[in-house]
Amino acid sequence: MKLVNPLTAIFHPPPTPGVLGVFGHLDATVEAIGKLRHGGHTDFTVYSPIPRHEIEDALDQPVSPVRMFTLIGGIAGCAIGAWLTLYMSYDWPIVLGGKPVGSIPPYVVIMFEMTILFGALATILGILFNALFAARRLGTVAYDARFTNDKFGIFVPCEAARAGQVEALLRGTGAEEVRRA
């Protein structure tokens, strides 16, 4: 019996079956997105070399949860800054310049810097988490190297029986190239 490496399922998952359309024009892509949504497709992937509001509007996706990462990171950073300065001051109390041992005004600088530092790092984590680890069907969806250059693309996951219908839809809206994956 052949043993299956369990990591293969994680790192090399089998490709998702579906249809990939390559578009040369932004308006054609937007039209195709509208028709796909109208036809009941919800989980297709749109590739574009640049972020475009037209595509965003056509997809009508919810606002990215990255903002929660930023907010929580920033608040945590500010709190850590406050804790760091106040705890360390009272842990070994020395009166400096006749000021209270824990005096807030100079510590605001540290709290501010820590807010920015933790806010920014949490934002990065938020992007990485959402765009890489939590992304749907990561690495299993058909891709074309031209999508980072000058072509737009739409991948519609579907079983072989419905593929012909999707192909016709993509071609009808002006896809330059359509292929099954």
């Binding site: 040369g24 024009h25 932004l26 308006d27 992937t45 749109v46 590739y47 574009s48 070399p49 640049i50 972020p51 037209e54 595509i55 965003e56 997809l59 996706q61 606002v63 990215s64 949860p65 990255v66 903002r67 930023t70 920033g74 760091l84 300065t85 360390m88 001051s89 842990d91 070994w92 020395i94 400096l96 310049g97 005096s103 100079p106 600088v109 540290i110 501010f112 810097e113 820590m114 920015i116 806010g119 920014a120 790092l121 934002t123 990065i124 938020g126 992007i127 990485l128 959402n130 765009a131 890489l132 992304a135 749907r136 891709y143 190297a145 999508f147 980072t148 250059n149 000058d150 002006g174």
Partner: protein, 452 residues
């Protein structure tokens, strides 16, 4: 080696493909001029390393410190390099929030400059502390004596500010690079393709990736904007919180921030002129971009000149004898040459930028930018060294301060270090943002010519 891009004929628009290929082309073999520059940078760095090793072996006595001048060329270089860093974040974050389209062609260079300038700046306090091997005492960590840093000291604020600035500007640069590395990955071949496949972190430009990315980038820019204003303010408080006449001024924070952006924009111009020539980016980085940088330079230069006037006026109008004496010493004391270099390079020279002819002349801008850099270095020298040397409270102890070969050698080394990293970056990663340059182009739509 990516295919050679051909410039679009007159009348047709610049296509996405042209942008990708002309930027990916910079990742190839840049020619002799590039290697000559890189070689000089490495040679300068070697000089600096040699001086630093001697300094480590024989101590700070090799540098020209003499009472009461214990902050000297190293701290001057520190402030100079932190200042250089600032315009990068201004162009990449603040102008991003202002949605100015022209920044797209130059912001990557400026941002890389930021990261490498902060890397350079961070070395100087460590060199300056004397027993460099105890640098980790700056970090608040639990130690056996139970001591913590003094958070009421501006020096510890500075450590947090610079540390945060370096971290945030680095992640900001890397974040912006990811879609561009992916675009480069898809057009190059060989070992670079493998390198970019790893460093692009699986970027494919899907709607989901862009959704999180654009949001996150917006927040990073929104965080970097107050950060950049805070960092040089905190650096200025290293001085302004002390009572030395010439340092102790509430003006310092905005004065330093404007000066930082001024010197940084000048450095961006200094760097872009050779980069544009070496990598044939004339179609992407145009005279229009240089003119906008020159306008930014003029604006911040005027703020700096205004700060000089206010500084002198306050010293006179305040009527405090020590403050007046300090400013008299600055202008007419033994360091008059440093003050007047600063005044001429920073206060008078930018007035040339009022003329459109000069703003649109690349050579003219290059020359002016170098003088601005010299002037801004001397500004920090005047503020730090001259204020200490002429300190009126310690008139009896005033000594003549002369920097030594150890000061100049390590300063030269810092330029080598900075240019080495910058040149290596430009050759190996997209020096102009591929995706953002495309964003300012009209999108290809049906019915319009899309071929170059």
């Amino acid at each position: 080696m990516p295919e050679t891009a051909t410039a679009p004929a007159r009348g047709t628009r610049v296509t996405y493909d042209f942008v990708t290929r002309s930027i990916a082309r910079t990742l190839g073999h840049p020619g002799k001029g590039y290697f000559a520059l890189l070689g000089s940078a490495v040679a300068l760095l070697a000089v600096g390393i040699g001086c630093l090793l001697l300094l480590l072996r024989y101590g700070l006595g090799l540098a020209g410190y003499s009472h009461p001048v214990y902050w000297a060329v190293y701290i001057t270089c520190f402030v100079f390099w932190v200042g250089i860093a600032h315009s990068g974040t201004l162009i990449s974050a603040i102008l991003f929030l202002f949605r100015s389209g022209w920044r797209t062609a130059v912001y990557r260079t400026a941002e890389a400059m930021t990261v490498f300038a902060v890397m350079t700046a961070g070395l100087f306090p460590l060199i300056h502390i004397g027993r460099q091997w105890y640098f980790y005492w700056l970090i608040p960590y639990p130690n056996e004596r139970g001591l913590w840093p003094n958070f009421k000291s501006p020096l510890i604020w500075d450590e947090f500010a610079i540390g945060t600035y370096f971290t945030v500007s680095t992640v900001f640069l890397i974040m912006g690079l990811i879609p561009d590395i992916a675009a480069a990955r898809d057009v190059v071949s060989g070992w670079r393709k493998r390198l970019y496949a790893i460093t692009s972190l699986g970027w494919r430009g899907t709607n989901e990736q862009w959704r999180h990315y654009t949001r996150g980038y917006l927040y990073l820019a929104a965080l970097a904007t107050p950060l950049v204003l805070s960092v040089h303010s905190v650096v200025s408080w290293d001085f302004a919180m002390a009572i030395v006449p010439g340092w102790h001024a509430t003006l310092f924070a905005p004065y330093f921030v404007a000066g930082a952006i001024y010197s940084g924009v000048a450095m961006v111009i200094t760097l872009l002129v050779p980069i544009r020539k070496l990598f044939h980016l004339d179609e992407l980085i145009t005279v229009h971009h240089f003119e906008n940088l020159a306008k930014l330079c003029l604006l911040t230069g005027l703020i700096v000149s205004y700060a000089y006037c206010v500084e002198n006026f306050t010293a006179w109008f305040g009527g405090h004898h020590a403050e007046r004496a300090a400013f008299w010493y600055r202008a007419f004391g033994p360091f008059w040459w440093a003050s007047w270099t600063m005044n001429i390079c920073n206060g008078i020279l930018p007035w040339l930028l009022w003329f459109k002819k000069i703003r649109t002349s690349i050579l003219g801008l290059f020359v002016i930018s170098i003088f601005v850099n010299i002037g801004m270095w001397f500004e920090r020298f005047v503020i730090i060294v001259v204020s200490l040397a002429g300190e009126p409270y310690e008139r009896f102890a005033n000594a003549t301060y002369n920097p030594t070969w150890a000061d100049w050698g390590i300063m030269a080394g810092s330029f080598g270090w900075f240019f080495m990293w910058f040149l290596l970056f430009v050759k190996n990663f997209p020096a102009v943002s591929i995706s953002e340059v495309k964003e300012v182009l009209p999108a290809p739509t049906r019915g319009k010519a899309v071929h170059a």
